[in-house]
Symmetry: C2
Subunit: 204 residues, 2 copies
């Protein structure tokens, strides 16, 4: 089965749209998704001044996300707390979850808590709400997320993202082709299916 | 007839896609397009470090434009000279053209010359190739573009773009709603038609 890598960040506003959409799109396409959180702050830091200081762009971003959520039937009740996850704890728990094979469920629950329940990512409130229903002990999971393996994996996943030319979240990689932004989700799956227009040979 | 404002820049890579597509989309939608070149460098300077220094993003941009051109049937023969139009002369001729009512034709001819014929925007070669077929005298037009009215109009159009919250090119404004990026072209026209999902009242 064809595999697509989904690179995203706990705390990226646009990643919410892809988190909520990619499961259905992948099922319909018959493609397996590898959920790969990474540290977008590192790769954006190399390329950009902090988005939060760009007022016109931030104002536009929330309105655009609202419009696109409506368009795709994704729930939207207003901009979430942002920036969030100051110590990258939500992202490091994502490393534990990816290692343990429960990253998709953890991600969906976390983005819902963040966007729809007003929870700060990486807070005790977030992890208390999200981990027990997944059968995970909160303190034990935090201890793992604070350990060297989780820190190291986050660096490695961020390096992997950078190696694919990724400079923002979300991004999709399939057959070594990189697509950036929730608005490229369908294009990435078209690529996975081999029917992107650039792949189709002209009729002769 | 509903009117949509099309803000773009002579020298913006993504604007090429919209320049080549918007005529057909607008005709089908029955919407009038007001072609409004503006100085994106000013509004980006407020928000961003220069795109040209962001290597991963630039590499991605040309590949993305290639893919999207293929998708939309827009000719693409490779990245154009970029950056281009160092003195904003192509953009200031755009002010003369907008004043005179021939901005759409000038823009289409210019973006084709830039992308498909390898011409530098604002060069003598560009203006010699583009202006005479439009019935415009090259020297007289350059004199107008170098005059105070053209300079002033460019400032005013850039202010208008900023007032609409625009921070990049291309952008579309309809009914005071702003859309950024060629990938929002269809969404902007859906808004113009009143059938964007955010505008549609839920069934009760």
């Amino acid at each position: 089965m064809k595999q697509l890598d989904f690179f995203y960040f706990f705390g990226s506003g646009y990643s919410y749209l892809s988190v909520m959409r990619i499961g259905n799109v992948a099922r319909e396409a018959g493609v397996t998704v590898r959920w790969r959180p990474f540290n977008v702050r590192t790769v954006m830091g190399e390329n950009n001044i902090a988005l939060r200081t760009q007022h016109a762009k931030v104002r536009y971003m929330w309105r655009d996300i609202q419009r696109r959520a409506a368009r795709h039937g994704v729930p939207f009740t207003g901009p979430p707390r942002w920036p969030t996850d100051p110590d990258l704890l939500a992202n490091r728990v994502g490393m534990v979850a990816a290692e343990g094979g429960w990253c998709e469920d953890y991600t969906l629950a976390s983005f819902r808590a963040w966007y729809l329940d007003g929870v700060e990512l990486g807070s005790r409130q977030h992890l208390d709400a999200v981990l027990p229903p997944l059968g995970r002990d909160v303190d034990a999971t935090i201890a793992l997320a604070d350990g060297p393996a989780a820190h190291e994996r986050l660096v490695q996943e961020t390096d992997a993202a950078r190696d694919h030319g990724i400079f923002g979240a979300p991004a999709f990689v399939v057959d070594n082709e990189t697509f950036w932004g929730d608005d490229r989700l369908e294009e990435a799956f078209a690529w996975a299916a081999g029917d992107h227009s650039l792949q189709v040979q002209p009729q002769t």
